[in-house]
Amino acid sequence: MTLVFACEVVLAGLLVAIATWTIVARTAFAAIVLFMVYGLLLAIVWVALSAVDVALTEAAIGGGVTSMLLMGAATRLRAPTTPVADVGLPLRIAAGLLCALVTTVLGAVVFFLPDVAPTLAPVAKDNLAASGLGNPVAAVLFVFRALDTLLEKVVLLLALVGVWSLASDEAWGGVPGLPVYARPGRILVFLAQILPPIGIIVGIYMFWAGASQPGGAFQGGTILAAVWLLTMMARLQDVPAINARWLRLLLVVGPTAFLAIGLAGFFIADSFLAYPPGIAKPLIIVVEATLTLSIGVTLALLVAGPPERLSQR
């Protein structure tokens, strides 16, 4: 047993233990904190699987923003008067058997995987130079499978439209009900003042580094979202009303730029979402820069939730 493997066994055991605890924890608060730990541990697992891009995304979105979102929800929920009963023992046993079966089948799939694994890595590597990028994952995301990535941004926007449409009629166009600190103390305000510049620099770095090494628009955008949420929670900044023109503009600038460059592909290259050779990298950088902004704003607003009251002004 090698050292690395010993490390990985500890990690895998810890991951499963925390996941189990997340499921069985009694209070929602405990479960959410456990889920956050789970997400950050999962990021380390992705590192062990040599998928650093995924590790960054998992830490940022899977562990980070999802936990912020869930905690916001838990804060807003009114507890019911009657205690909530989970399903009874017979159903629990049946569910346990079903889940054991699913796990066994998946385990068998892993066990019986073919010895020679199918891979597209050589193809991706061979065509990497043509994309002008140094990071194969970014090349898959923005060149080889650009349509997926474009539609993924649309899904994010659609989710935001869905969340907003849950607003009551009188609050439409108003301010999202992000729970904020009722009385931010001096220490919190200090933190909320000192962290944004650092966060913005790291966010830009993540996006910029994404072209040649792990990183990218998502990871950068998430940090921008987190920074913005922090300043809003510390009440250094108002939560904006969702009908603000600048807000809507920021939301769509990224996907629009992506789509526009994609459509331009019909004329300057041979097909939709194709980049002309030579200027592929600058075009991708433009797309990624605008996407970083849009993703940051979209993620923050998804966490902030549907509008709950009209703005004061």
Partner: protein
């Protein structure tokens, strides 16, 4: 033992320590105790990742450590919001403004 092996052993050791500490903190009983785990996984996870980064000679892992350290801070502030609001003022004050 080469220096690389040493760093990997150190990573495994730190991970184990963090795991034990996490178990204790997450057990509670108070919610504030559980928030300590954000801190612990923040600094402990960063230490493990940095050791792995240098030990495996993979520079990009350092970026994951950076991300982890930064996000742990944001998460602490988000989780503490509840504690601060519930005990200092009535919850309705948040709604006004």
């Amino acid at each position: 033992m080469t220096i690389t092996n040493f760093l990997l052993v150190a990573a495994a050791f730190v991970l184990l320590m963090v795991a034990i500490g996490l178990a204790r903190i997450l057990y509670g009983p108070a919610d504030v105790d559980r928030i300590l785990s954000v801190q612990l996984i923040g600094s402990g996870g960063v230490a493990v990742l940095l050791l792995l980064s240098v030990g495996m000679n993979l520079a990009p892992i350092m970026d994951v450590a950076l991300m982890l350290g930064l996000l742990a801070t944001f998460l602490s502030v988000t989780f503490l919001r509840d504690a601060a609001n519930s005990s200092s003022v009535s919850p309705s004050t948040t709604e006004e403004r």
